[in-house]
Each structure stands twice: as C-alpha cells, then as structure tokens.
C-alpha cells in the first residue's frame, strides 16, 4: 500500500521534505514502519526518540496502518 507521511522539525530536515511517500506492506505495523524509515534514513535512528502519530494520536507499536490514515513522524517534541 502507499502511505503519505508528514514530517516536522529535524525529521523534515533529515528527509529533506515535509512529506514522504512510501510503499509499505499491507497492514504494516507502526514498528515495521519505523524500521523501514530508519533503514532508509539512518539519521532518524540517531534521534533521542521518535514516534508515529496516526490521525492526531500517538500510535501504539502494534497498530496496523491503513492507506487513508493521516500519518506523521514525531521527532522529540520541545514546545513550551
């Protein structure tokens, strides 16, 4: 399936774009997606942490992604 992933902050700088189009296995898990991303962009693995958000909520590691999910990569937040 095809996924669109929104990127912010340092993740946007690492990838060089505010959106990443990615082909992933059907029913890819959040963990699987994170492995895929780290494989493609090793610099993501050097961050303090990163999370995946689906439809404005932090997604559990075993959540199975769907093609119409609004997916975002969340590098370490630093608001406030």
């Amino acid at each position: 399936m095809k996924l669109k992933i929104a990127l912010f902050g340092i993740a946007k700088e690492i990838v060089g774009s505010s959106q990443l189009d990615l082909t992933a296995p059907d029913q890819q898990s959040v963990t699987g997606l994170m492995d895929q991303l780290r494989g493609q962009y090793p610099a993501l693995g050097e961050l303090t942490s990163f999370a995946v958000a689906v439809n404005s909520e932090y997604a559990a590691a075993d959540y199975r992604l769907q093609e119409n999910d609004e997916i975002a990569l969340i590098p370490p937040v630093s608001g406030g």
């Binding site: 929104a6 958000a53 969340i74 937040v77 630093s78 608001g79 406030g80």
Partner: protein
C-alpha cells in the same frame, strides 16, 4: 476551555481574562518566554514549528485530562505560539481557575509539564554561529 495555537504575539491579559470565573477565587498561570541563553550558548531567536491539527488536539486532551484529575477546575486556557520568536517573546501561556489555590498550582503545573511532553511542537534555537533543534539528539 480556551485552546489556541497562533503565529501572532500572545495577548497574556486576554488569556488570563478568559479563565476569570466568579466561583473561582484562584487563578494560576504559567508564561514561558524565550530566554537569551540555553545551555550556556547565546540565543538570538527561536523558530517554533507545529503540527497544527495534532498540536491543538493534544493541548485539548491535556486540558481534559486535567479536568478529570481536578474536577473542581473551573476554566482552562492554553495558548501556544509558533513561528519566529525573539528574546523575551511569550511562547506559551497556561492559565487555570479553581475555587482554592493549591489546586490551581497543581493543575497548571500538570498542564504545562504534560504539554511539554506530548504536544507536537518543535523549537529550533538560533545562535550567532548555528542552530539546533532542541532535544532532538541525546
């Protein structure tokens, strides 16, 4: 509940006024401003980037969670700035009103502490000789 994300200067007095409540004798507020230094380096300005929809959603969730934890909470207001900020600019304001004061301190502190953990906003500190995304690297 008054939750805002804005790229304009925050009107602190307006945020405080929004939590005024005749049944609440106590208002606690936290204002986060841009410091002129960070871990010993001189900061010249900051850039805040936000994942807008999720940021507003998460700020609202934090406020709701506070209302569950402190059922006596009368009003909650959170306004976060984004975009380019200069030294001294207000980055975030949290204000709460409660009947008694101890609850106002506890609820306000919970809200700002939790916001800093969960709200998808990223701060890039600009120095004279470079810039850093805060907290990105160990």
């Amino acid at each position: 509940m008054h939750i805002f994300l804005t790229d304009q200067p925050i009107d602190v007095a307006a945020v405080l006024a929004s939590v005024q409540d005749e049944g609440a004798g106590a208002v606690n507020s936290f204002i986060g401003t841009v410091r002129n230094q960070s871990t010993g380096r001189r900061v010249v300005r900051l850039d805040y980037e936000a994942y807008d929809a999720m940021a507003v959603h998460q700020m609202r969730r934090v406020a709701e969670q506070a209302q569950e934890m402190w059922p006596m909470l009368r009003q909650v207001a959170v306004t976060h700035r984004k975009g380019r900020l200069d030294i001294g600019d207000v980055a975030v304001v949290v204000a709460v009103s409660t009947p008694h004061r101890a609850d106002s301190f506890a609820a306000c502190q919970f809200i700002i502490d939790t916001i800093k953990q969960v709200v998808p906003i990223w701060k890039k500190e600009e120095y004279e000789d470079g810039s850093v995304w805060v907290a990105a690297h160990p």
